[in-house]
């Protein structure tokens, strides 16, 4: 069942700036440029892109707090902006930078209030709360006023709050931003468990690569308002030929840097003591390359660098601007 459907969704912003003493210049910025989205029930989708790509703008249009400049969108069968209040009962939203909890009240009271606000059945509410308490370890700070919570604690509370009314879709805008590693892992584990049930559709925007790797089966990449990829992370890397890098530090510089199949020398530094290889996983494995290297040199240190998502996207954009055929979906 299709829960989220967008066709030609567009959003423009008029930016006025001063040009001289009295005159004003207005230019139109297209934040979201006619994108198509189809998200089925139970999916776990990562919606990513560089800063300013249009992620948050899209999310706002999907949740009804920003009206589209063009195109159509339906979430849970409803039109988000005109039917916002109705939609609010079907969706849960978590903005990483904003709080939906009541600032001065203890966390537990916020939960209790939400039950009344959304009209949730006592038993359902209790069950969901119990599960969240268990998985996110809320008991330690349930009675603390929200304004006194640490960011990690607050985010766990927000996540709980967003789900208490059993929404069909959960939208998360940078849920792990600024969190300590323990909280990040707790949030990811919780979302994974939630996604596994298949009852809740999850759409999340994030900059965190670990979030993407662990949570998103499907990855939609948006850049400058356009969708440039819609598939899995592996497909993304495969399509755009991003490579892992292997950086080796040698005891002694080699007379001639070793060239290996599947490992292209990207740079040589420190008088030949540090060599950076770009690896092609299809041709050879990291282990094989290291074996070959140790045959001819003493390695002091190695590090493996995963392909950065920003690099992929940058490359994506470069490729797109030179390639007139716009291949978005895979």
């Amino acid at each position: 069942m299709t829960l989220i459907e967008a066709r030609g969704l567009r959003r423009d912003f008029a930016i006025t700036s001063k040009a001289g003493w009295l005159r004003r210049r207005t230019r139109v910025v297209t934040a979201v440029d006619a994108i198509d989205l189809t998200i089925e029930r139970g999916e776990m989708v990562g919606y990513i892109g560089p800063n300013g790509a249009g992620k948050s703008t899209t999310l706002k249009m999907l949740t009804g707090i920003l009206s589209p400049s063009g195109g159509s969108v339906r979430v849970c069968g409803l039109e988000p902006v005109p039917q916002r209040t109705q939609l609010a009962r079907q969706i849960g939203v978590l903005f990483g930078h904003r709080s939906q909890l009541w600032w001065d009240l203890p966390l537990a009271e916020s939960f209790a209030l939400l039950r009344h606000v959304y009209g949730v059945r006592e038993s359902d509410h209790a069950a969901r709360l119990a599960r969240a308490r268990r998985l996110l370890e809320l008991d330690a700070f349930l009675d603390v006023p929200v304004r006194q919570l640490s960011l990690g604690q607050r985010m766990r509370g927000e996540l709980t709050a967003a789900l208490l009314h059993g929404p069909h879709v959960l939208f998360l805008d940078e849920p792990t931003i600024g969190l300590d590693i323990v909280s990040k892992q707790a949030v990811r584990a919780f979302l994974t468990t939630l996604g596994a049930t298949g009852d809740t559709t999850i759409v999340l925007t994030t900059h965190d690569l670990a979030d993407i790797e662990r949570l998103c089966r499907r990855l939609i990449v948006i850049d400058q308002g356009r969708i440039v990829h819609d598939g899995s992370l592996e497909q993304l890397h495969a399509r755009h030929g991003s490579r892992r890098r292997l950086v080796v530090d040698l005891d002694e510089p080699l007379a001639m840097p070793l060239a290996l199949p599947g490992a292209i020398i990207e740079s040589v530094q420190a008088d030949g003591r540090r060599i950076t290889y770009a690896l092609d996983g299809n041709v050879t494995s990291t282990g094989e390359i290291l074996r070959r290297l140790t045959e001819v040199a003493a390695l002091r240190d190695i590090s493996v660098l995963e392909p950065a998502i920003e690099d992929v996207i940058a490359r994506l954009y470069l490729r797109r601007s030179s390639d007139p055929v716009h291949d978005a979906a895979v």
Partner: protein, 272 residues
């Protein structure tokens, strides 16, 4: 507008939350009540000087009525809450207001419910303390007619709602104005001067006072509840005042919802 039986429970829960929240501000509450009491003494001296310099009755009030006017007035300040930090305006400016929009409750009713809970809590502290202090040192006029207690209770409730409405509108200006100083200043001036806080409005020429009472919401916040309490006139007169207040309750709430809807539209269409 969504006011079904399910929502009523939601609003009651919100009111209870508002009550509990303000219950935690103990120190600030008592400090404020102490300040109110200080002002009570100062203002009492002024009104007594007026009464002593004139006839026994000034602008329709006798000494005891004026004392009551001053002390219950000080109690009212904290109950209807004339001055409050601009929390809602801050939320609008920071954009946090979107989380309010994402809940299935109307922001106006949401905030009103919380405010009524706060007012209920204030009854036990900021209302009672100045009156107790005043009663200790001065002779205050207790209602002669039992009906006055009921009238005053109603009047107090309506004053709280009208005051909420005014504060909400001042905050909601943040949807359009980057700098809220103008509305805030206007509200502070109007609520004091035109509301009956500094002196009974009947010190003004009768026509002016009547025009203010009927034509502006400010007297409904302080002047009218106090006039009801000191039984200025007959029970019929009290009912007239209550009717004026009720009208302003309806007008202010309608205005709040209208402004809120407009503000939401601006936010949603322009992106804030």
């Amino acid at each position: 507008m969504a006011i079904g039986p399910r929502m009523i429970r939601a609003y009651l829960a919100l009111a209870a939350a508002g009550f509990r929240r303000y219950a935690t501000y103990r120190q600030a509450t008592f400090a404020a009540a102490a300040t109110n009491s200080v002002f009570g003494f100062l203002r009492c001296a002024v009104v007594f000087a007026v009464v002593d310099a004139g006839a026994r009755i000034v602008a329709g009030y006798d000494r005891a009525q004026l004392a009551t006017f001053v002390w219950v007035g000080q109690g009212l300040i904290g109950t209807v809450l004339i001055w409050a930090p601009p929390d809602f305006a801050d939320r609008i400016r920071s954009g946090d207001v979107v989380t309010d929009l994402l809940r299935p409750v109307d922001p106006v009713w949401h905030l009103l419910a919380i405010d009524l809970g706060r007012a209920a809590h204030s009854m036990a502290t900021r209302f009672v303390i100045p009156i107790a202090v005043g009663a200790l040192f001065f002779r205050l006029q207790t209602p002669r007619r039992p009906g006055t207690y009921v009238f005053f209770a109603l009047s107090l409730l309506m004053a709280t709602i009208v005051c909420f409405g005014c504060r909400f509108l001042v905050n909601a200006a943040a949807y359009w104005l980057l700098d809220a100083r103008g509305p805030h200043i206007a509200w502070t001036l109007a609520s004091g001067f035109l509301g009956g806080l500094y002196f009974p409005l009947w010190f003004f020429p009768n026509a002016a006072a009547a025009a203010l009472i009927v034509g502006t919401p400010f007297p409904s916040i302080i002047q009218l509840p106090l006039d009801v309490l000191v039984e200025r006139g007959s029970p019929a007169d009290q009912l007239v005042l209550l009717t004026i207040q009720a009208s302003w309750v309806v007008i202010m709430l309608a205005l709040c919802r209208f402004v809120q809807r407009r503000g939401e539209e601006k936010l949603v269409v322009q992106g804030g």
